[in-house]
């Protein structure tokens, strides 16, 4: 009866086939998975204890025996420190965004769906946070409540709630204006049912993609906080902190000093590119 009869493809099937043909996104996803695995299994993989200092080997160059990626200013093995550092950097990248996603998306959905005064209240509150650049805000909050991982996580979460709320509000308003919401209302569905079975399903994809792009921002800000001494405290291995302490030795051994920076750069770039790839794979006319 229909021309479409021969093998229809569901939405996720076509997303998958699009992703499969996108080498950049696949490579980035591979790198991210690699870093995640390295971080999880750090104790098994790292060749040395990241806290063992050896004054004789201070700033050993890349390729020294026993120190494949050299050693830092206290003679600790760079490779092991980089592997362990991924743990904190990934936590600092993922956790705040995840918590902010839950809070921000809920606020955005409510603001967008209910509209009116509720929308006004939620969105104007978010606008207050928008008045400060995100890095400044994170520094200010961390500075006020003190250094440490937990405080760093808290300040980053607070930084990410407003943009996620704004994005999910926009998307919700867009979806709410579509005819199928009217059609659902006309068939007598309650508001909660409409939000659950129509709005969330359609809004979550775009919000999620936006969040993956925030992960890279989060990693960079977290590194920045550590660099300024507002995040993780020594001797913890964290890429941002490592960059900060190695900075003095940049003229002695620039290659070793650049390594944490390379890791930050690679990870955030991969998250960004993967987010772009997902966006274009999922954003299609059906």
């Amino acid at each position: 009866m229909s021309a479409n009869i021969n093998k229809p493809r569901t939405y996720w099937q076509s997303v998958r086939s699009r992703l499969r043909r996108d080498p950049v996104t696949l490579t980035c996803a591979g790198i991210i998975i690699g870093i995640v695995l390295l971080s999880i299994f750090a104790p098994l993989i790292a060749p040395a204890n990241p806290y063992d200092a050896n004054m004789m080997k201070r700033l050993a160059p890349i390729g020294s025996p026993g120190y494949p990626l050299g050693a830092d200013e206290l003679g600790r093995d760079m490779l092991s420190r980089l592997i362990y550092g991924g743990r904190i950097s990934l936590i600092m990248g993922l956790v705040p965004v995840f918590i902010a996603l839950i809070i921000g998306a809920s606020c955005g959905l409510v603001a967008g769906y209910v509209g009116g005064r509720t929308n006004m209240l939620i969105m104007r509150t978010m606008d207050i946070f928008y008045a400060f650049p995100s890095i400044m805000l994170a520094i200010a909050i961390s500075g006020a409540i003190g250094a440490g991982i937990e405080n760093g996580l808290l300040s980053l979460t607070l930084v990410f709630i407003p943009p996620i709320t704004r994005v999910s509000e926009t998307i919700t308003v867009q979806i709410k204006s579509l005819d199928f919401i009217d059609a659902a209302r006309a068939s007598g569905a309650s508001n909660s049912r409409i939000i659950l079975s129509h709005i969330i399903v359609n809004a979550l994809g775009p919000i999620f993609i936006y969040c993956t792009s925030l992960v890279s921002v989060s990693i960079i800000i977290a590194s920045g906080l550590s660099f300024l001494g507002l995040g993780v405290s020594p001797p913890e291995a964290d890429w941002g902190l490592m960059l900060s302490t190695l900075r003095q030795s940049i003229y002695v051994n620039p290659w070793v000093c650049a390594l944490p920076g390379v890791m930050i750069f690679t990870t955030s770039l991969c998250f960004n590119l993967m987010s772009d790839g997902l966006r274009s794979a999922m954003d299609m006319k059906m």
């Binding site: 229809p8 199928f180 007598g188 309650s190 079975s197 359609n202 059906m286």
Partner: protein, 343 residues
């Protein structure tokens, strides 16, 4: 009108203004669009009422008001003797079991992430039916609209053609077991060859299920084909109402005349040579005074510019029109005849 008792859907003095923009304190109130003003009509059981008019005439707003997607500012909607959202009447929730709507855009009205089966079962499930039961029934409704459930049950909207999607939308409306279905430009977006299929389906469903239709369209020929009664709207008001034969064969309002004359003839040997009516419809934010059609009316008089005519019977009690000229036909004729003699 003695026939009023028979009317199944009765609408009286419906009014809806839309505020443009939000009001800022101390500033002038932003203008309101008078989308629907003083609209009254009756639909009898088993009949089809066609509503025609150009974009912005308020026909779609009337549809949304009827099914309570938007709340009217004033006026009454009575279905089967029960006033909607009034004491002793019928609640919006119950109304939607008796009245359903099919929208114009068959794609936008279906959730792209929901298989057809679920879309059809969604209404009944929302109203407390067991999901397994509702899913089973959705097969039956697909059959009823001519879609093979074995093929289409688990399909997604983007896998169907426009005509098939509109069938799904009709099945979804049927799933609520309505007596009245509002069809808001339901066939306008379809290709002509498919439009005929869907119209045939609608005709069959109407006689099988004893349905009552309110059929909204800008296409005069389609409305003529499917309707028993016609209501012509212009800038939020009803300008003419009557049976299809009366309105199409002897239109009483100059706007209806112009609208009918503007239809392409479909005959290569009878192409239109002159423009039936000039000008564009006025902006509904700032409608003309008096009769809203007077800016374009070829027969305009001074009375038309100041006084808005009421909808009233012509020589035929069931044929109503809102035109000063139609109610005073003889007087005007006399005046014109005198002018003719003098010149």
């Amino acid at each position: 009108m003695a026939k009023i008792d028979k009317s199944f859907v009765k609408v009286r003095n419906l009014k809806k203004y839309f505020q443009t923009g939000t009001q800022i304190p101390f500033l002038k109130k932003p203008p309101a669009v008078k989308a629907v003003e003083n609209v009254s009509f009756d639909v009898f059981k088993g009949e089809t009422l066609g509503v025609v008019g150009e974009s912005g005439c308020g026909k779609s707003t009337v549809a949304r008001l009827l099914i309570q997607l938007i709340k009217p500012d004033a006026g009454e909607i009575i279905i089967d003797g029960l006033a909607v959202e009034k004491r002793g009447g019928i609640s919006t929730r119950d109304l939607r079991h008796r009245m359903q709507m099919v929208f114009q855009d068959s794609y936008a009205t279906l959730n792209p992430r929901m298989p057809i089966e679920e879309s059809i079962a969604f209404g009944p499930i929302s109203n407390g039916k067991k999901p397994s039961e509702a899913m089973l029934e959705s097969k039956h409704f697909m059959d009823q609209v001519g879609l093979d459930p074995n093929i289409y049950l688990h399909r997604y909207p983007h896998e169907l053609s426009g005509g098939q999607r509109q069938r799904v939308n009709i099945a979804r409306a049927l799933a609520m077991g309505p007596e009245v279905i509002i069809l808001d430009e339901a066939v306008s977006a379809l290709d002509k060859s498919v439009e005929a299929q869907v119209l045939n389906l609608l005709t069959d469903l109407k006689s099988d299920l004893k349905l009552t239709y309110i059929f909204i369209s800008h296409d005069l020929n389609v409305v003529k084909y499917i309707s028993d009664k016609v209501m012509v709207m212009y800038l939020g008001e009803v300008v003419e109402y009557g049976t299809v034969e009366d309105v199409y064969n002897s239109p009483k309002h100059p706007y209806t005349e112009a609208l009918l004359a503007s239809q392409p003839s479909m005959d290569p040997s009878r192409k239109l040579k002159t423009v039936p009516i000039t000008g564009d419809p006025p902006n509904p934010i700032n409608p003309p005074s008096g009769c809203k059609f007077h800016t374009r009316c070829p027969k305009v008089t001074d009375l038309c510019r100041t006084v808005n005519p009421k909808l009233q019977s012509t020589d035929n009690v069931d044929h109503l029109t809102a035109c000063h000229l139609a109610s005073n036909v003889t007087e005007v004729d006399v005046l014109n005849a005198q002018k003719g003699l003098n010149s």
